[in-house]
């Protein structure tokens, strides 16, 4: 399964970067969304994927039955998902405000603060 996922994640990274290189701020934000999803999937995938064995312990037992999926990347991804959501929510509102202030969707019109 992992090779297939690797290809899919590669596509995700590629599309994300392509979108980030556009001039439109909306596309930029969509690119950021794709990118953070891709990174989360990457963590999940590289640690190895296991079918049908969630890291849960049946009631009354002290250890899971048999091999279970690695819980650590799951916890890490969960944290990363929430962080990514926070940042993206911020970014989404930021482009909205930027559009209100600059009155353009075009990143090339936002270069006053540089040289």
């Amino acid at each position: 399964m992992e090779p297939l996922m690797a290809v899919a994640i590669g596509i995700l990274y590629a599309t994300a970067i392509f979108m980030m290189l556009r001039r439109s701020i909306v596309k930029l934000v969509i690119g950021l969304m794709l990118l953070s999803n891709a990174a989360n999937l990457l963590i999940f995938t590289t640690a190895g994927m296991t079918r049908g064995a969630p890291p849960l312990i049946p009631e009354g037992m002290s250890a899971p039955v048999g091999n279970v999926a690695d819980p650590l990347p799951q916890a890490v991804v969960l944290t990363a998902i929430v962080i990514a959501f926070s940042v993206l929510a911020f970014a989404v509102v930021l482009i909205r405000r930027a559009y209100e202030v600059v009155k353009a969707d075009d990143l090339d019109k936002m270069k006053e603060t540089d040289t």
Binding site: M1, E2, P3, L4, M5, A6, G10, I11, Y13, A14, T15, I17, F18, L21, R22, R23, V26, M33, L34, N37, N40, L41, L42, F44, T45, T46, M49, G52, A53, I57, E59, S62, A63, V68, A69, P71, L72, Q74, A75, V76, L78, T79, I81, V82, F85, S86, V87, L88, A89, F90, V92, V93, R97, Y99, D105, L107, M110, K111, T113, T115
Partner: protein
């Protein structure tokens, strides 16, 4: 402790505003106590220095790095220290009169004191790095002094020029000192001196010498770096008197003299120093008589003197060493005096142009007498100290082992021109018909006569009784040669060739003075040549650096964010390709075990991402992103991550909602970029995708280590009392992550609320910053 005394000088400089509040006009006198005390201390040490050769005052500064603030006092340091402190006393007193009622006098005193202390530290420093630090401090403080009249464009420009030239030299010096440290294995002058190994044989000798010489030459205004010194005349006259007689420019000379016993005497040293010194000497003297500005005249004659000193160090014979000491003392005394006289003239007539002055003798009698004696010393007329210096210089040039003829000719020509300069300064303003000057001339106040008067008297005194300075001379020559010496000065050397040269040069120099008014227009014809001189090169260099910096910034910081992203990604991609494909190879153990529904879900995921990229409708993009998110959630659920699946689902829903709330406030998608750009971006994006794919496979294929999560699975129920291991990790094993994460979410919410609701009317603070249009 002498170190503390020197450092206290900086503190004293910092408290000058306070002193001004307490002492008002008398602050100069109060400050003058400091160099006076130092001078007394130095004189006290003299017997000891004569007896022992050199004294060390050790004080560990950064022991762990082996940097110490050790001071070394030998004859050379003693001589320079005395010049700095004695002339410093008079300059401070003089400045009090010259800048009386000037509103910025405190600022002047701060910089002058700081400069004095730096100079003092420089000549006393034993540690190479300490020496460098004080060296740079003199550059910076002299910058502040030269640019004192910052309302004047010329002053600022000159200050900057002086700073750039000396600091550039300072960099070379640092390189040289580091090389010296590496080559000798010691980081202090006294240890290098004590070590018997001959540095001249070392492989690094040539580079280190060149670096050190560049440092010394820039500082002491040797050709072709001489141009900053005359420009530095933009400084107030007391500064000129101090910087250009006793101190700043002599720092370079001091360094050369300091290094002479260890590095001198080789063919390289002799050639470079005597030729550069000789050229500088002649250039200074020749350029001097073009000018009618009294300060410029003096400045170029200083260049001449600096050249002479360098030349003498280059010649390196014992006779040259004695000449060096005599010339150095003579020059410091008469030049300090003459600059102060020039300041007095400027002060009372309102002009610096000697041709605009005349007949001042009756109005400024004391000044004219002082000027006369100081100029006699400059001209080298017996029985003044300048005469001894000049005589010995001729003698040294005649005794040179290399370039003898050249050096003698240069010395002779320079002497003639210098005599003309001396005559111009001493005679022109005071004799002849009275001319109308911008201010009504009057005698200078006592504070402005004291300094030049005493310095001129010293010239006379030491000329008549050279034996007074014998001890000092002997000690200095000892440190210059590295061998004990009992050199002494005397006025009368008998009737010999140098005396003959002196007499001829006096006659010719006086002739040149008489013809000066007719000579100047002819010299002015040479002016166009100056356009190709070293100064023009300096200007071009500075302009080009400025232009380059603007160009570079425009290219790099161009404001187009996609370019920034491109550069960053290309860096990453390049490094990754080099690492994983060129230097190493990826590791792929291929085993494809998939179910049909999984392929469907992952396919949907990829399609969603691709469609979001390709679609031209906003709704289409949002829906695609949503579909992709759902597929990810499903993937998580299929592969044993129920918590993740649910979270992803909920987050995706919220994200889509946010997008809907925001996106439809924004304009429709438009395509801004060209096809070429799209292809380029596509290629880069594709490269990144392929690399990531390879990296995932490699990381996954490496099966060398057991993950740490085994411990967590085992202990979740027994120790953490939780059966959902993921949740246990979140709230127990790695609760700190979760804590941080919840603060991130909270922060984002605060940011969003602030961004949306920030009310500009209520943002007026207690004292608001004024707005200005953005015109960077």
């Amino acid at each position: 402790m002498i170190q503390l005394t020197v450092i206290a000088g900086f503190i004293l400089a910092a408290t000058v505003p306070l002193l001004h509040r307490w002492f008002g006009e008398r602050t100069s006198l109060v400050l003058a106590l400091y160099p006076a005390l130092l001078a007394v201390w130095l004189l006290e040490q003299m017997p000891e220095v004569l007896a022992q050769g050199n004294l060390l005052f050790e004080w560990q500064w950064v022991p762990s790095l082996g940097i110490s603030l050790t001071f070394m006092l030998d004859g050379l340091a003693l001589l320079f220290g005395l010049l700095i402190s004695v002339i410093g006393v008079f300059v401070l007193i003089y400045a009090g009169g010259y800048l009386r009622n000037h509103t910025d006098l405190p600022r002047f005193h701060i910089a002058l004191m700081a400069f004095m202390v730096s100079m003092f530290g420089l000549v006393l420093a034993d540690d190479l790095l300490t020496l460098f630090i004080f060296w740079e401090l003199t550059s910076i403080t002299s910058y502040l002094l030269i640019g004192f009249n910052h309302d004047d464009l010329e002053a600022r420009k000159s200050a900057r020029q002086g700073l750039f030239v000396t600091v550039a030299g300072g960099l070379a010096l640092m390189a040289g000192l580091v090389l010296l440290g590496v080559a000798s294995g010691h980081w202090s002058l006294s240890e290098i001196r004590a070590d018997d190994t001959d540095l001249r044989e070392h492989a690094l000798y040539t580079p280190l010498l060149i670096c050190l010489l560049i440092g010394a030459f820039t500082k002491s205004a040797q050709f072709p770096f001489h141009f900053w010194l005359p420009n530095a005349m933009a400084a107030p006259t007391p500064v000129s008197a101090y910087l250009h007689s006793a101190t700043m420019v002599k720092a370079g000379i001091y360094l050369l003299a300091r290094l002479h016993p260890e590095l001198g005497g080789t063919a390289l040293w002799v050639t470079v120093l005597s030729v550069v010194g000789g050229l500088t000497m002649f250039t200074g003297a020749f350029l001097a008589i073009r000018f009618t500005n009294v300060k410029k005249l003096l400045a170029y004659s200083t260049v001449m003197a600096l050249g002479a000193l360098t030349m003498l160090l280059g010649i390196g014979t014992p006779a040259a060493m004695v000449a060096f000491v005599a010339f150095l003392m003579a020059h410091s005394l008469y030049k300090g005096s003459l600059f102060m006289v020039a300041g007095a003239l400027d002060h009372s007539t309102g002009t610096k142009d000697v041709t605009a002055m005349g007949g001042l003798r009756s109005l400024m009698p004391v000044t004219s007498v002082i000027a006369f004696f100081a100029a006699l010393s400059l001209a080298g007329v017996p029985p003044l100290l300048g005469f001894i210096g000049k005589e010995l210089m001729f003698e040294a040039a005649l005794g040179a082992n290399a370039f003898q003829l050249l050096l003698v000719l240069l010395a002779f020509a320079s002497a003639i021109l210098t005599i003309a300069v001396a005559a111009i300064i001493a005679l022109r303003p005071f004799y002849g018909p009275r001319l109308i000057t911008p201010r009504v001339p009057h005698e200078a106040p006592l504070s402005m006569l004291l300094g030049p008067g005493i310095l001129a008297s010293l010239s006379l005194l030491l000329g008549v009784f050279p034996g007074v300075a014998s001890d000092l001379t002997a000690a200095t020559v000892t440190s210059l040669t590295g061998q004990p010496s009992d050199a002494y000065l005397s006025l009368w050397h008998g009737f010999n060739l140098p005396l003959l040269m002196s007499i001829i040069s006096l006659a010719l120099g006086f002739l040149a003075f008489k013809r000066w008014d007719r000579l100047r227009p002819k010299l002015a014809l040479l002016a166009p040549l100056m356009r190709y001189g070293p100064e023009a090169g300096y200007e071009a260099l500075i302009d080009n650096i400025a232009r380059f910096s603007v160009w570079q910034t425009k290219v790099l910081q161009n404001g187009y964010m996609r370019n920034y992203i491109l550069v960053m990604l290309l860096t990453l991609i390049g490094l990754l390709i080099n690492s994983i494909l060129v230097r190493h190879s990826p590791l792929i153990s291929f085993s494809l075990d998939v179910r049909f529904y999984e392929v469907m879900v992952v396919g949907t995921l990829a399609m969603g991402a691709l469609f979001a990229t390709l679609t031209r409708s906003r709704l289409g993009a949002v829906v695609s992103v949503g579909v992709m998110g759902l597929s990810i959630a499903l993937t998580f659920i299929f592969f044993s991550a129920p918590d993740l699946g649910i979270t992803q689902l909920l987050v995706e829903t919220l994200t889509v909602m946010l997008l809907v709330l925001v996106l439809f406030r924004l304009p429709r998608f438009t395509s801004f970029s060209t096809t070429l750009e799209r292809v380029r971006d596509g290629l880069i994006a594709g490269a990144m995708g392929v690399l990531i794919c390879l990296l995932i496979l490699t990381a996954w294929s490496i099966d060398q280590f057991a993950p740490i999560s085994g411990y967590m699975i085992e202990n979740s129920a027994p120790l953490a009392y939780g059966r959902n291991i993921v949740n246990v990790i979140l709230v127990d094993y790695r609760a700190l992550d979760t804590l941080g994460e919840m603060f991130v979410l909270a922060l984002a919410a605060i940011g969003v609320i602030a961004m949306l609701k920030f009310d500009h009317k209520s943002s007026q603070g207690p004292r608001t910053e004024r707005k200005e249009p953005y015109d960077g």
